[in-house]
């Protein structure tokens, strides 16, 4: 240490240094105090530059400051909860449809149906999105983006294996995969992500719906363990695919959506289940090795199933503390409209998001927009997009206890895939947990 403690000068020097250090670290604190006048916008770290550019325009137009904070998607729910509990300042935030009941019941989100400025967009938003933002009769936000789980394939691999058309049923998926495997084109032709993360429920639900099953019936009771109506066929198919046919790698339990996307883009697989917006980066030769040959097909159907898939949406929510304060609420409404509604008379952000990252929207009129169509046609089939979109349904497991059940369910499915548990046992465990949690609430 270069400070000489034993003399006066040294001690003075130390105090000086501490003072400047305290000063510099107080600066963010001072900044935070001023930020009380600004809008606190909390998101996960996606489309950062797109968001930031739109924010710059917002700040310019309204003369309001926006403090934009982010957390990684994988930690978003956890960090949000800590913030809620600690009453950290957040005004507007991105929310996933799965968490709406949980956060609304906990009193963290405030309904926005009192603001005509926002509700007027409902007419131009598709039903699926509107319904997903409603809970107990109140609406909680405007759509950020909406998309569905798509079935993608590498046309080159299919062609090389002598397959003329993509599979229409899950049985055909098995057959075609075996053919591709035999031809030495791919070790594990189907990429299915089974890591226990936020994405898992979307993958599973897509598989369950296309097999004609459900997790939960209309009354909200668990039916996943029902061999006819439930997820039994689905899980059995996956287990067979991993263990019997060996067309899905046993490493799938390690594979999250991100790694799965990367693996598919490296050309390791012929088929993949991925969020539809991934088509955009997959088609880009700068980022993907299968650029130019990735195509979307309708979700294969199970024996008693259909081409249905799961759709999800994320929305802009207003926090309860913000709603309680008149000024904050008014500012929050402006921000939500700017992003989730129209900015300067146009659906600017939605279009930006679509062209930058390929993310879809909930806005009905944009589907008919020729620009959008032309842009999409550059790399993929717009008709297929629409077709599958119309068959997308929302998850049936969205409830207040979803977060907790999701963990158990995911682990149970993993156990079955790894052979540590039978299919029946895994689903029974999942159903049991669901019913228990339902009873407790």
């Amino acid at each position: 240490m270069s400070i000489n403690w034993s003399n006066q000068a040294g001690r003075r020097e130390f105090l000086k240094r501490m003072g400047s250090l305290a000063g510099s670290s107080m600066l963010p604190f001072a900044g935070q105090a001023l930020a009380a006048d600004s809008i606190n916008f909390f998101t996960w770290s996606a489309a950062v530059d797109t968001v930031k550019s739109h924010l710059t325009a917002f700040e310019k137009k309204y003369g309001l400051q926006v403090a934009h904070n982010m957390a990684p998607w994988a930690q978003y729910r956890d960090t949000s909860i800590t913030k809620f509990v600690g009453k950290a300042p957040i005004d507007v935030m991105w929310v996933s449809d799965s968490w709406l009941p949980e956060w609304a019941d906990a009193g963290w989100l405030a309904p926005v149906d009192g603001y005509a400025d926002l509700m007027k967009y409902n007419a131009d938003t598709n039903d699926f999105c509107n319904k997903s933002m409603q809970y107990k009769g109140r609406q909680y936000g405007l759509t950020y983006y909406s998309d569905f789980m798509a079935f993608l394939y590498d046309s080159e691999k299919l062609a090389k294996a002598g397959i003329s058309a993509p599979p229409k049923t899950w049985d055909e998926v098995v057959q075609q995969s075996l053919k591709i495997k035999k031809a030495g084109l791919s070790e594990y032709p189907l990429m299915l992500s089974m890591a226990r993360e936020t994405w898992l429920i979307e993958f599973l639900t897509a598989m369950v719906y296309s097999h004609g099953g459900h997790f939960v019936d209309d009354a909200g009771n668990a039916v996943m363990h029902d061999p006819k109506k439930g997820a039994h066929q689905t899980l059995q198919w996956i287990v067979d695919a991993v263990q019997k046919h060996k067309i899905i790698s046993p490493a799938c339990v390690e594979l999250g959506e991100l790694l799965g996307f990367k693996a598919f883009s490296s050309g390791n697989h012929a088929f993949a289940l991925l969020p539809r917006y991934r088509v955009r980066p997959l088609s880009d030769t700068k980022q993907s090795q299968i650029g130019g040959r990735v195509k979307q097909a309708l979700m294969p159907a199970g024996p008693n199933g259909s081409n249905a898939t799961v759709g999800w949406m994320r929305f802009y929510g207003m926090t309860a503390p913000a709603a309680a304060d008149k000024t904050r609420a008014a500012n929050a409404v402006k921000l939500i409209e700017w992003f989730g509604g129209k900015a300067d008379g146009q659906y600017k952000f939605q279009k930006l998001l679509f062209s930058d990252g390929g993310s879809a929207f909930g806005v009905k009129s944009l589907f008919g927009d020729p620009e959008i169509r032309a842009e999409y046609q550059k790399y993929s089939d717009f008709d297929m997009f629409e077709k599958q979109q119309n068959l997308a349904r929302k998850k049936d497991v969205v409830s207040r206890w979803f977060g907790e059940w999701d963990e158990i369910n995911g682990t149970a499915w993993q156990a079955a895939v790894l052979g540590k548990s039978s299919v029946a046992d895994a689903l029974k465990r999942s159903a049991q947990t669901w019913n228990d949690l339902k009873k407790q609430s």
């Binding site: 509990v85 019941d105 906990a106 009193g107 070790e187 226990r196 790698s249 693996a263 907790e404 682990t411």
Partner: protein
């Protein structure tokens, strides 16, 4: 003569180590204040929370339930499974740490050229942040492109890439390996210092008596190392039981709960299930476990206190 010297003169009549409450209080105050405010309050508050049934998804009803949470934890098979996994992880890690540290200490105890360099490199694993350590090993264990797969494949031990972290049978040992790698330097230093303090005449006398290398090792070296072994064992056990970061970065308790240890259970209960009451109770049970171990440490070094 100023007041300071006068005071010093006065206290000279007492022996050092004598009763001097005032000075002690003065010196201790900063520490007590800081720890009291920043450490004690959260600890007590945490305990308070554990006496309630708090589920964030149901914020309007938070009944006071005495020790119900604790009772419920002990009846939960998930808890006991976590304990089993924690024990398994801890035993694996501590045994390996002792073994590796001993080998390294023995090596560093020898005199040879380059020993200084080895010594300097020793602390590198200890210094790197847990996050970096986790990411580094995650990359090495990667089933698709990892170095572990690569090296085994190139050396011909396997003919195709294997699943590592995703294989529930391999998960805990692999995490333990990452933990051990980072933990080894400190015990090595401790063992080394102890080795150095063994008087060389002991070895000299034994050699004269005709004892060979192995006998010298078993009859002189190992017994002298015993106190150090015990210290390392207890410290590393504490560290292994409460370790969280690697489980968070590498596997998040999976796959299929293969790495769902006690510290992960606390996290999952608090942040995934939003059950703050039971989460706090679990944490206190864990703390009790660690406290018992810590107490043993103090008793071992008891003569100094």
């Amino acid at each position: 003569m100023n007041a300071q010297t006068r005071a010093a003169r006065k206290s000279v009549h007492h022996t050092v180590g004598a009763y001097d409450q005032k000075a002690a209080m003065l010196f201790l105050t900063p520490m007590v204040v800081v720890l009291g405010v920043v450490a004690v309050f959260p600890v007590l508050y945490s305990f308070w929370i554990s006496l309630f049934d708090i589920k964030l998804s149901r914020p309007h009803r938070t009944p006071f339930v005495w020790f119900d949470n604790y009772a419920r934890v002990f009846q939960d098979h998930m808890f006991w499974d976590s304990v089993t996994r924690t024990v398994s992880f801890t035993v694996m890690s501590v045994a390996a740490i002792l073994l590796v540290a001993l080998c390294m200490a023995l090596l560093l105890n020898e005199e040879f050229r380059g020993r200084r360099f080895l010594s300097a490199m020793l602390l590198v694993p200890w210094a790197i942040p847990f996050v970096a350590n986790g990411l580094m090993w995650k990359w090495i264990y990667d089933s698709g492109y990892g170095a572990l797969n690569g090296i085994l494949y190139q050396l011909g031990f396997i003919d195709k890439y294997l699943v590592w972290l995703g294989d529930p049978d391999k998960t805990l040992p692999l995490i333990a390996n990452a933990f051990i790698w980072k933990a080894v330097p400190l015990p090595t230093i401790l063992l080394l210092v102890t080795l150095k303090s063994i008087p060389s005449d002991l070895y000299g006398a034994a050699k004269v008596d005709g004892a060979n290398v192995w006998r010298r090792f078993f009859h002189i070296t190992l017994p002298s190392l015993k106190p150090a072994f015990i210290l390392v064992m207890i410290y590393e056990t504490m560290m292994a039981v409460r370790h969280f970061d690697l489980f968070f970065i590498l596997t998040e308790g999976g796959p299929a709960d293969a790495s769902h240890v006690l510290s992960w259970e606390v996290y999952a209960e608090t942040f995934r299930k939003l059950s703050f009451g039971t989460g706090a109770a679990l944490a206190y049970i864990m703390a009790l476990l660690i406290f018992v171990i810590a107490y043993s440490v103090i008793r071992t070094l008891g003569n100094k206190l």
